[in-house]
Amino acid sequence: MARITINGKPCEFTGAPSILEVALANGLEIPHYCWHEGLSVVASCRICLAEVWAPNPRSGELEPIPRLLPTCQTPCGDGQVVRTDSPKAIANQKAVMEYLLINHPLDCPICDQAGECYLQDYSYEYGRGESRFEEAKIKQPKKDVGPHIYLYSDRCIMCSRCVRFTREVTGTAELCVVGRGSSEQIDLFPGKALDNELSGNVADICPVGALLDKDFLFTQRVWLLTKTPSIDGLTASGDNISIEHNQGRIYRVKPRRNLSVNKWWISDEVRYGWKFIHSDQRLTEPRRLQYGEQVGTNFSAAYDEIDERLAAAREAGAKVAALVSPMLSCEEAYLMARWVRAACGEQSRPIIGVGPVPVNGEDRTFPPGASPADRNAFTIRAEKAPNARGVRRVLKGLNGTEAFEFAKWLEAIKDAEVVLLTGNYPSEWVTKDLAKALSRKCIFLIDTLPNDLTGKANVLLPGATWAEKSGTFENANGLLQAFEQAIPPVEGSRSEGQIFADLLARRAASTNGHGAPRYNAAAVREEMAASLGLMEFIRDVQAPAAGSFIESDMELVEL
């Protein structure tokens, strides 16, 4: 295998990767601004320059290459020696840092990027500490470039990542470079706005505080945020995300790099779709129907009523139906179906179906014209539920046959008397057909937001969104991905997993007296593998990469 020595560390490589890529793969840091793994190479920021010694092809002796080479663009050569810590390379790093800062406003105290800014980090690591620039700075305007993004041109370092993103990823090319020299700036193409379905990503790839997320602007200092790795809970894409929260409140959602799923990006729908989690409409109290009117109750009373109703139904030989929402995780679907089957007893099988799977338009792949299998392609899924496939997989594993799809299930429940439903959709999901089909039936509903059924349910339990629990989603490509709980469920609610774990424990308690265990997704996966033979749940589930959970940097010090 070919070898290259970077800053004294021998690194192996195959093919012709750039020096920077090999360095990063080997855990070596080379500062870079304009280079981004998902974008074309422009080699324009010039901070990644290195001094290179290449072996003479005839004598094999190392000879210095007289000029500094951009590591992001220069392919590795066998036997080369690269130094980014030589006096020449360091002098260049210092010069570039000084150049980048001469027209930068240095307004870190009021900048959203502070704390995760490459200008700050590299200044600290590679800069010169003080500026020799005594002239007047160039003042650039702040611009409102689109529904989600502000552009503070004065902080921009012209790395052109955002311009390349709109050209190479979205294919919309709203952004361009105007002007020349140091008065150059990023601007909108005349007559356009940065209004595409991936526009939020430009704020992520901006290495400085020039492109800012309007939604996050001035809401939180980034060092206060805890970053929990999660999976997109709104669409079937299974995008890897990082939920960034502080004290039980989500402040923003960012993409996590996963080359086999979402590459480096997420859609704006996923980025901003979490707002309903903190909606003041959230259901936070179990309720039950009493003399035709819903009244508040507590979980154990609600459980009692559910158990009593089901026992009565079983006595009477009435049919029970259950609808498993595709918004639930695989583990929850398993616990729910297991509990419903147990509650119905051996004689009468419940009618279990998969909840409605919302679809909006068609799948769209970026850049336009790319195939979803392309290395850099990014697909927005039309299917707006994270786990329809996972729910089907679990129900099939449990029943041995395919579960009813929603339309079939609606027909099948005509003579059912007790119906258990789960919702958890971010918006209204109860169709007229469903509401009609459920009239004069006993309804148990677990949901997160009010809808047509929440007022009519005999028992209503407040559920929790995916950010408030752990579990596994199966995306549109059949990839099983586990996610962790980011924030606790809103006060008064419980995750569906916990609710069914409670109900299952109550059934078991009547025989052996154990209390309710804490819902543990990993344990449920093991149980699924053991009891149903769904070995994929211990074999194929992808866990977030190590290091993707990041605690807040903030340390509280007692004074």
């Binding site: 190479v41 422009v42 080699a43 324009s44 920021c45 010039r46 901070i47 320059l49 007289p66 000029r67 500094l68 080479l69 951009p70 663009q73 002098a91 260049n92 010069a95 570039v96 150049y99 980048l100 001469i102 027209n103 020799r132 620039f133 005594e134 002239e135 007047a136 160039i138 370092i157 012209m158 361009c176 470079v177 002007g179 020349r180 020299g181 140091s182 008065s183 150059e184």
Partner: protein, 447 residues
């Protein structure tokens, strides 16, 4: 053997062989009457490779500034490649003080078109684009008319070169720039031709392999291509009898060169001379001496990006060795700007820095930010508000940018770097006179 008569200016009356007042545009008929397109006829009777070999043997060096051997550049095209190739003709003459190509475009456009046709034939290039500077409105109109004439006469298009005398067909188009200096940089020119922002490309891949629209492309200066017909017509030995060999063992500087002299001379203008003519002779014999009898002080060697020749370098020979011999970047376009003894060199430096600040494309950090900083620093120096230490800062900034130290993609910053650095180094006392001393605060510890 020095030149005995005009070569490139054969149809353009130029001192001392003719009176510039007699200049008029030579259109197709007059061009053919005076022996035009004869070299093209001769070329197509040869094998294309033989034409390339002749140009290679003549040691013709690029006239656009870098002096790269033209024939060698042609051989970089991929062999046995049947697809589309392009010739990009660099007529984006926007270096301050340079106006030699304009003379050709103004008065003898067919000389360029003949050079294009021969070069395309030799390199098997089907399509040529002439990228002309946006400000050359008049020249663009002349070229358009000349190209239309050439199409009408079967030089281009149709059944093949010279009305099908050869079955190789060449198309030629004119593309007008929008007024950016950087589009004269070869890859910036290609980007601009493709309709993009004129940001120079990172190399490799080199244009000869992957150039315009991703196809192998040759980029040549107007004057370089104009030399080609003469090499075909008069032979390699004749061409090598003009100009001079290198006196320091480098590659030779054969041929004649259009030299556009501007600045403080009696008769500024374009003159054709042998390469290697001393600057003093160019000024005194061709330009009628310094204006107003003043003394020579400095000269920009060939376009502002090459840096300046000092007061003691008036005898510098204008050939491609000038860079190594006289501490300038190179011969450049061989269009010197002459300064007399009254010139304020700080102002010259500031003016040049202003040009580069305005024309930096803004792609690479050092050039984008450094050019603006240098300009501001020089403005302060010119106003007399700078400190002595600022001179060193200025030199450090200049030295930190350029394609030669590797910190930028293209050579624009090198031009800025060399211009400022050579002026400061050769006229440092003038800068020091403008600056106040920098005091270093010293505290004495008292026990």
């Amino acid at each position: 053997m020095p030149m005995t008569g005009p070569v490139l200016t054969r149809r353009i009356p130029t001192f001392p062989y003719g009176n510039p007042r007699d200049r008029r545009t030579v259109w197709y008929d007059d061009y053919v009457k005076s022996g035009g397109y004869e070299a093209l006829r001769r070329s197509i009777a040869l094998e294309p490779a033989a034409v390339v070999d002749m140009v290679k043997d003549s040691s013709l060096r690029g006239r656009g500034g870098a002096g790269f051997p033209c024939g060698l550049k042609w051989t970089f095209l991929p062999k046995n490649y049947e697809g589309q190739r392009y010739l990009a003709v660099n007529a984006d003459e926007s270096e301050p003080g340079t106006f030699k190509d304009r003379l050709i475009l103004d008065y003898d456009p067919h000389m360029l078109l003949e050079g294009i046709a021969i070069s395309c034939f030799a390199c098997r290039i089907q399509t040529a684009y002439i990228y002309i500077r946006g400000e050359y409105h008049h020249q663009a109109r002349i070229l358009e008319r000349a190209i239309a004439e050439a199409y009408g006469q079967g030089i281009f298009g149709g059944r093949g070169i010279l009305n099908g005398a050869c079955d190789f067909k060449v198309d030629c188009y004119l593309h007008r720039g929008a007024g950016a200096y950087i589009c004269g940089e070869e890859t910036g020119l290609l980007e601009s031709l493709e309709g993009k922002r004129g940001w120079p490309r990172i190399k490799p891949p080199f244009p000869a392999v992957k150039g315009l629209f991703g196809k192998p492309t040759i980029i040549n200066n107007v004057e370089t291509l104009c030399c080609v017909p003469f090499i075909i017509e008069h032979g390699v030995e004749w061409f090598k009898s003009l100009g001079c060999a290198s006196k320091i063992g480098g590659p030779p500087s054969f041929g004649t060169k259009l030299m556009g002299v501007s600045g403080h001379v009696q008769r500024p203008g374009v003159y054709e001379c042998d390469l290697g003519i001393p600057l003093r002779r160019l000024v005194e014999e061709y330009c009628g001496g310094m204006r107003g009898g003043k003394r020579y002080k400095a000269a920009i060697a060939g376009g502002v990006s090459m840096g300046v020749l000092g007061t003691d370098q008036f005898d510098a020979e204008m050939d491609f060795d000038i860079g190594r011999k006289y501490e300038v970047l190179g011969l450049g376009t061989a269009c010197p700007t002459i300064f007399d003894e009254d010139t304020d060199m700080v102002m010259v430096a500031r003016n040049i820095a202003r040009f580069f600040k305005n024309e930096s494309c803004g792609q690479c950090t050092p050039c984008r930010e450094g050019s603006g900083w240098m300009y501001k620093l020089l403005c302060r120096m010119e106003r007399g508000e700078a400190k002595l230490k600022d001179i060193d800062l200025l030199l450090e900034l200049a030295g930190s940018m350029g394609a030669m130290p590797g910190t930028t993609i293209c050579g624009l910053a090198d031009g800025n770097n060399w211009a400022v650095r050579t002026i400061v180094n050769k006229f440092r006392s003038e800068f020091e006179a403008r600056c106040s001393p920098s005091f270093v605060p010293v505290t004495v510890g008292v026990a």
